[in-house]
């Protein structure tokens, strides 16, 4: 019992500890550990019962032909073969999802950083702006999507605005070339969430850093580049990871606004797998899609973590 957390002295019947060094813990730390396990247990039970179980099951189902009604038939890797070689709509949806993630995630980060930087200045009505920028995050996505349907109408307010600058706006949600940019526009609407986190971190940067920099003659751009940005990189990194996962899993906006149309121009991976599972009753095929997506997200997250060493700065981990 190398991992035993209790001192063997209190339990004389306990077999003697092996030669490996046993870390003895103080009573308060032991109690803390027990409380930790007690309070984390609902989550762990929930994860094991409702997440891990279905996940393992879906690995099996992805190797079967299953309509959810009749017993599954084992087909080996047929679903994956079909996915990669015979299904043009999957490739289209995957391409669309990459397109969406590649633009919406960096855009969200840049917007969030820019807005937070602006709000960090001593401007009038700062609190009002802060509220206004965060407000869209609080509006339910369904309501936002409905509003965007109106805003993005071919003769809607957005195209009206573009018209003032002499730009003939596209039909956004109805145009295969513009429907993805429209969804990206909708994602930028939610930049307030990142802004608030970044702003809180910026507020926490000690003023001495800026004072010292000012004495050294650093301008505001240099201060931002050498102090503000490195200090907020952990939050940017957090937003990057969450943004990547969220973007690859985009569902509601597509489901409400376009149903993947026109002609799959806005079809994404998760709405596609939803259709396969619940409209066409191909749960095995849908499970295969979900595992492909899982691997893709995992790869991108790993790459982000790997490269993070080069640009994310943690104060406690000075190198």
């Amino acid at each position: 019992m190398a991992t035993s957390l209790s001192p063997s002295a209190t339990k004389p019947t306990e077999p003697p500890a092996p030669a490996a060094p046993v870390r003895r813990m103080s009573t308060s730390r032991k109690r803390e550990a027990r409380y930790f396990y007690l309070f984390i247990s609902p989550w762990i039970v929930g994860f094991l019962a409702f997440m891990l179980g279905p996940m393992i099951a879906s690995v099996y189902y992805s190797l079967t032909d299953w309509d959810t009604f009749t017993p599954p038939t084992f087909v080996g890797i047929d679903n994956y073969v079909r996915l990669f070689t015979e299904d043009p709509i999957f490739w289209k949806a995957l391409g669309n999802t990459f397109y969406y993630a590649a633009i919406s995630v960096p855009l969200g980060l840049v917007l969030g950083l820019w807005l937070a930087h602006l709000l960090n200045k001593q401007v009038r009505a700062r609190k009002l702006f802060r509220t206004l920028i965060y407000l869209p995050t609080l509006v339910p996505l369904v309501a936002t999507a409905m509003i965007f349907q109106m805003v993005l109408a071919p003769d809607g307010p957005l195209n009206g605005l573009l018209g003032w600058f002499g730009i003939d706006g596209p039909a956004w949600l109805l145009d295969p070339d513009w429907v993805k940019p429209a969804l990206i526009l909708l994602s930028a609407w939610g930049a307030g969430g990142a802004t608030v986190l970044l702003l809180a971190t910026m507020k926490g940067i000690p003023n001495e850093f800026y004072e010292a920099a000012e004495i050294d003659g650093a301008g505001s751009a240099r201060q931002f580049r050498s102090i503000t940005f490195p200090q907020v990189t952990p939050i940017i990194f957090f937003n990057l990871i969450m943004g990547l996962i969220g973007a690859f899993q985009i569902f509601s906006q597509v489901y409400i606004l376009t149903s993947g149309g026109p002609n799959n121009a806005s079809q994404m991976v998760v709405p596609l797998l939803f259709n396969e599972a619940f409209s066409y009753y191909r749960m095995g095929y849908a499970s295969a899609i979900s595992w492909v997506l899982f691997v893709i997200i995992l790869l991108f997250t790993l790459v982000a973590f790997r490269t993070s060493r080069r640009w994310v700065f943690y104060e406690t981990a000075m190198r």
Partner: protein
């Protein structure tokens, strides 16, 4: 020593967590078994729709329970968008409904043995489907076996703005109108950029009606797709020309500019289109407003008379606890004892032809101005019958995808339907 003071190892913790998790799973599994056992008179009935549907079905269930006090029926109304998913999950979890509303996707279930064949029950009850329901009697059949009893069934009919027709001096439309009559009326009633003559046929049952009127069919009687036949191509092109050539029908872009979720129905109610073809469901709300003066008529004809029917039936799921009892309930719900409630509650056209031709339907008590309700029984005499293939949902998706460019005016009907036909042939396996 309390629980917090006992020896506590990580491994021990994980073991107990796993045991607890297994317990949760076991308990859930047991839960789905409870309520079993024969002779249970509690029936669960799933239907889709909104408030009107809920009230109508509940009223009919109340009448059913009054007639058979030994029954108790629980109504589960599910939003239309998520109905299929919910029912799928219920059945897959082993606790499917006893009585289940089905429509065009009936054979998704029957082809996978999820519905009970009803032929024996029909014979035992001496129910004559053809005399009770007319042409739609055995519409919910798969491989010559009946899987659902028709419950609601109304043809698409033409709603027209009576006020506009009268001021333009156009006589009321009839079933003998041709495509040319419709087009010339639509042209007269169109005011560019303000009002359109006709709401259009972008929805599948509507352009399919045009295709059948032109002598075509989307799926032939053998269940094979024939979407690229000359008759279908010509009919679809005509529907497209109404939008882009004659400009008497709002385009997708025009509808998007009218507001969120706009289509023919709200546009007609707002007076933006003078003619609209759709199902019964607007009759109730139009009867309550004064903005638009309106009436209904059967849809026009092409080379032939043909029109789509909207309907639904009641089926018994594989997991039903007491199929005989469930059938007894369905028999009552589709009889002349329950079907008048379908119309008196402003819900739909009852499938029961006797009720459809009764005064209860032709002049409902809630109708203030006279409306030509005769249009419904008249239309059902020339309604075309769709072949409800098991791959119904995938077929619809193929049309939605393949016609996206067509309804934006970027593609002709022939190439669009050729692509769709190819996709349909791969979706629908040859027997």
């Amino acid at each position: 020593m309390g629980i917090m003071d006992t020896n506590f190892s990580r491994r021990g913790f994980l073991t107990s967590t796993l045991v607890a998790a297994a317990g949760v799973i076991t308990l859930t599994a047991c839960g789905s078994d409870s309520g079993g056992g024969g002779g249970d008179s509690r029936l669960v009935m799933t239907v889709w729709g909104g408030e009107v549907d809920k009230a109508a079905y509940q009223a009919r269930i109340d009448a059913l329970v009054e007639a058979y006090p030994e029954m108790s029926v629980t109504l589960q109304l599910i939003l239309s968008d998520s109905y299929a998913q919910k029912v799928q999950t219920m059945i897959a979890g082993g606790s499917g409904p006893d009585i289940m509303q089905v429509a065009e996707n009936v054979n998704v279930y029957s082809s996978k043995n999820q519905l009970l064949p009803l032929d024996e029950h029909i014979a035992t009850a001496k129910l004559d489907l053809d005399s009770r329901f007319g042409p739609v009697g055995s519409v919910y059949s798969y491989e010559d076996t009946v899987y659902a009893i028709p419950d609601r069934s109304g043809a698409a009919i033409l709603y027209y703005n009576k006020g506009l027709f009268e001021s333009a001096g156009i006589s009321a439309p009839t079933a003998d109108w041709t495509w040319d009559d419709m087009l010339s009326a639509a042209q007269e009633l169109t005011v560019p950029g303000e009002r359109w003559g006709y709401a259009g046929a972008g929805w599948w049952p509507l352009w399919w009606s045009f295709a059948h009127q032109n002598g075509g069919a989307i799926i032939d009687e053998a269940g094979r797709p024939t979407a690229d036949s000359d008759a279908v191509v010509e009919a679809l092109q005509y529907c497209g020309d109404l939008v882009f050539k004659h400009k008497v029908v709002p385009s997708t872009i025009d509808y998007a500019n009218m507001g969120t979720d706009m289509g023919g129905d709200p546009a007609f109610a707002a007076g933006l289109v003078a003619m609209n073809t759709t199902g019964f469901w607007n009759v109730g709300s139009l009867a309550e407003q004064d903005t638009v003066e309106w009436d209904i008529a059967p849809m026009w004809r092409g080379k032939e008379q043909a029109v789509a029917t909207f309907g639904s039936g009641l089926a018994i799921s594989r997991t039903a606890k007491d199929p005989a009892l469930a059938f007894k309930a369905i028999d009552f719900l589709t009889s002349d004892k329950s079907q008048p409630l379908v119309i008196s509650m402003k819900q739909d056209v009852p499938a029961n032809v006797e009720v459809q031709q009764s005064d209860a339907f032709l002049s409902p008590s809630w109708m203030t101005d006279p409306v030509n309700m005769q249009a419904f029984p008249e239309s059902s005499s020339f309604a075309f019958k769709s072949t409800f293939i098991p791959q119904w949902n995938e077929m619809q998706q193929a049309f939605t995808d393949g016609l996206a460019d067509f309804w934006l005016g970027k593609q002709e009907a022939a190439p669009a339907l050729a692509t769709i036909q190819e996709r349909l042939e791969s979706i629908i396996p040859a027997k």
